[in-house]
Symmetry: C2
Subunit: 467 residues, 2 copies
């Protein structure tokens, strides 16, 4: 066992928290979204929360933990939904919540510390320069930029810019290594892939440079359709309009939109399949023409619709991505979800086939994105959960139909992704974390290089640490 | 014959020009680019140039010309290269050069008069708000925004935004009709198509609202490759990178780049096939990585390369679109060009097949664009001109291979486009120009509805007026 008392002594002067219930609180993220992860990870907790306020502090923590062989799991805002930020082997939670400095905002780029909340970055970029981040998760108001880079994949803005995996959507990163003497490594260009979506297993990000784009007073729009296929076709058509600037295009099947979007309910018929969009104000005339031509109904537009009773509605992006799931869960706790890619060019055909196949058990929710230069869509369907076995069955039906599943009910990088080792990230881990102390249990390629993915068994981290 | 003296008297107080050589000068555009049009249109001239300074002036001119049955051909800056602005039937040249007011610049939109030069709009938008036009022709420094809307199709920026034909790339237009009492019509959304690229045959544009986007210090880049296919593949790959912000991507085959880009010559080997790009500064790291991976050579980048002798080089966009042709023509007057669409998804295969087929007679020049949501490319090849017959033969080879040709050696809308009537534009002409006095001879559908395109004969406007 590591000598935590000795470690604590070495870290004196830094902000430490050892109270078990407070530590446990900071050891959890949105893993409970998944009934599977909830069962597996509910007892996980770290031993000690350290809250650094500078890169030097981070280096001190890493050096000390290295010396004492104590695992370190970085935490942004803890909104990850696969247990990414949960310390499976206990140890230190490195809480980045106080490293929030925004260092510079220039045309096209912002430089900041990793703990900065995306809404705060956008607020400052907008006020000072009329700019905003290209991409943000639907957790815009709460999630940190470092957590997004290390644990997220894309979201609002991906219909225009693709995902974080796409070159150019992260400009530059500074990373500290987990060694006797932590080194600073700067990553740019293709090298960024080494730590993007690596769950903090191979370095602690201490500075982030992100591209900015022009900010507009985005109009939130809801368009209703009689048929799901019409809604999907409309969404796809708008996403392919190169001249119509949109930031978000999602489809939610009936009756989910009406039943779960409670504050929008009065704008949505129970039988309406809806497309939720964020549209540049100067594109609204063009959009309205397309709505007519597609026989849709513009049921809500934030620039015109006035809430009669003065009640405010949430922003459109909080109806999208995993916020769709969140809203469904609040109404019906038996619901869970999946993450599916419907690849170009026959994404709409596949969407229709899967909707037919599953009926009410798997309710269609699509997020349109640019993927490798084409418009495709992700599915984040609302799944009526019955058992783990049935969930796995549903996964294989999608996969057999040619729709890769990024399984959100797994806590490892590989099983949540393409079920294969990412050799670039593994090589970088060897370089930056020789003792394997960063977020243990999340990278199968490190923990168990011989793990057989074709066994269809879930990887269970043997070091899983329970309170 | 129209009574021009009476007309002139009625227009007293307006700026008029009747001196034949000055009128002839304002009756010409870049039609001479085409050896075919040069032969046909060299003698064309109007009778009178009127230079209005307000919408009221324009209305006065139109009403008077309507009364006297005098044709009116609108002129922006006269950089069109199909004789669009040439008064085939004589009459009044309505010279918009003094209606250049920029009325407002807001986030995402500029409102201005049609005679405003695009470089001036960009200069003001950039200085005042950090914005610029989405799209401009390579004649940025000289062409008017009204001429671009009425006579152009796209250009620099189309790799991101598509063309002017795409919904959203023109926000709103004010148009005056050619009637006894000219009416103002406002067009938005899909209605804009009525006058976009209609050569001023169905209304005079008096106000233009265009979308703006964020302006950056674009880096001009030239990348050299050993093989044309590698250059084309690189261009296509970069254009498909959703996270890499580019404004321009063109390919020019060897030895044209070296031989014709005189002020860039020292950066380009004679055997190098080049890709010319405009790249956002913060995307240069990502781009450089892709150049390496593609085994290209970064031979020029404006943010780093220093011209040893202090000699300046033209901006990258003046190596592109029809400026490529212009540069070739200056070195070798026997060169002409074509305009071809290589449609997605097998555009690269078709490019290679055509390059093989024609060898040196048709030198590859590609412009990558978004077209209906996908990356495709236009070809503006440099063609060694021998005869009109051979040029027509080359056109049919491309068409037979599935590559539509927008023939730049024709002065009518239909023959320069898809060889069919545009029913929307025709219907609008009936409404706005009942006497057919606006730019006569350019819309076959109006002049000769029974014209048989399958005859493969060139339409010859019977009213063609010679000096
Ligand atoms: C309702 C809801 C909606 C969501 N929508 C989206 C969405 O649209 N798109 C999307 O991509 N995700 C989405 N997510 C997941 C999550 O919100 C995002 O990934 C978010 O960006 C995570 O940020 P965070 O600050 O909360 O990170 P955390 O959850 O704290 O951490 C995420 C991962 O990054 C690591 N990490 C954090 N900071 C650092 C650092 N400085 N250095 C190294 N590693 C670090 C952590 O160890 C962890 O593995 C959603 C989640 C919820 C609950
Ligand atoms: C070297 C070179 C490069 C070029 N590159 C491009 C390119 O990249 N992309 C491209 O699209 N084009 C290109 N062109 C063609 C041309 O420059 C553009 O179309 C340009 O925008 C025309 O603007 P202008 O002001 O010169 O218009 P003009 O040539 O004066 O007019 C063009 C047409 O519009 C009509 N018109 C002008 N003003 C009005 C008005 N207010 N109301 C109604 N009708 C009007 C005219 O009657 C005419 O039919 C190029 C031409 C040259 C010579």
């Amino acid at each position: 066992m590591a000598d935590l008392d000795a470690l604590q002594a070495e870290l004196s002067g830094l902000k430490l928290e050892t109270h078990p219930s407070l530590v446990k609180q900071k050891s959890r993220d949105f893993f409970w979204y998944s009934p599977v992860l909830k069962r597996r990870l509910d007892d996980v907790t770290g031993d000690l929360v350290v809250t650094p306020s500078s890169e030097d502090d981070v280096a001190r923590v890493l050096a000390a933990c290295y010396r004492h062989d104590v695992p370190v799991t970085v935490r942004g805002a803890g909104t990850g939904n696969y247990g990414q930020a949960m310390p499976l082997a206990g140890g230190v939670i490195l809480n980045m919540a106080e490293m929030t400095a925004i260092r510079s905002i220039e045309p096209g780029v912002v430089v900041c510390e990793p703990g900065a909340i995306m809404a705060d970055i956008d607020r400052r970029a907008r006020t000072e320069t009329g700019q905003e981040l290209r991409l943000h998760p639907s957790t815009h108001r709460t999630a940190s930029i470092g957590g997004f880079v290390a644990g997220g994949s894309g979201g609002v803005g991906s219909v225009r810019w693709g995902g974080l995996r796409d070159l150019g959507n992260i400009v530059r990163l500074k990373v500290l290594t987990m060694e006797a003497e932590p080194r600073v490594i700067e990553l740019a260009g293709e090298d960024i892939h080494k730590v993007n979506h690596a769950y903090g297993t191979n370095g602690v990000i201490t500075e982030v440079t992100m591209p900015l784009t022009a900010a507009y007073e985005w109009v939130d729009v809801v368009v209703g359709f009689d048929a799901l296929s019409s809604a999907a076709a409309f969404a796809d058509m708008v996403a392919n309009q190169d001249g119509i600037l949109t930031k978000e295009i999602a489809v939610v099947a009936a009756p989910a939109a009406h039943d779960y979007f409670l504050r929008h309910q009065r704008f949505i018929g129970r039988e309406q399949h809806v497309v939720v969009l964020m549209v540049a104000p100067f594109a609204m005339d063009a959009l309205a023409g397309l709505v007519d031509r597609s026989k849709g109904t513009l049921t809500y537009r934030s620039d015109v619709t006035v809430a009669g009773d003065g009640e405010s509605v949430p922003p459109a992006y909080e109806l999208c991505w995993n916020h769709t799931t969140l809203r469904a869960l609040r109404v019906d706790p038996a619901i869970t979800y999946l993450q599916i890619l419907f690849p170009y060019p026959d994404h709409l055909t596949k969407v229709a086939a899967m909707a037919d196949k599953f009926g009410d058990e798997v309710v269609t929710h699509l997020e349109f994105v640019r993927f490798d230069g084409n418009v495709a869509c992700f599915g984040l369907p609302l799944v009526r959960f019955t058992s783990e076995e049935r969930l796995d069955e549903i996964v294989s039906v999608f996969e057999t139909a040619g729709c890769p599943v990024f399984n959100p009910h797994r806590y490892t990088l590989e099983e949540g992704g393409m079920k294969q080792t990412d050799p670039v990230q593994l090589a970088f881990k060897k370089e930056t974390d020789p003792k394997g102390l960063l977020n243990p249990g999340k990278m199968i390629a490190w923990e168990d290089p011989s793990f057989d993915y074709s066994s269809h068994k879930t990887y269970l981290f043997p070091g899983l640490h329970r309170a």
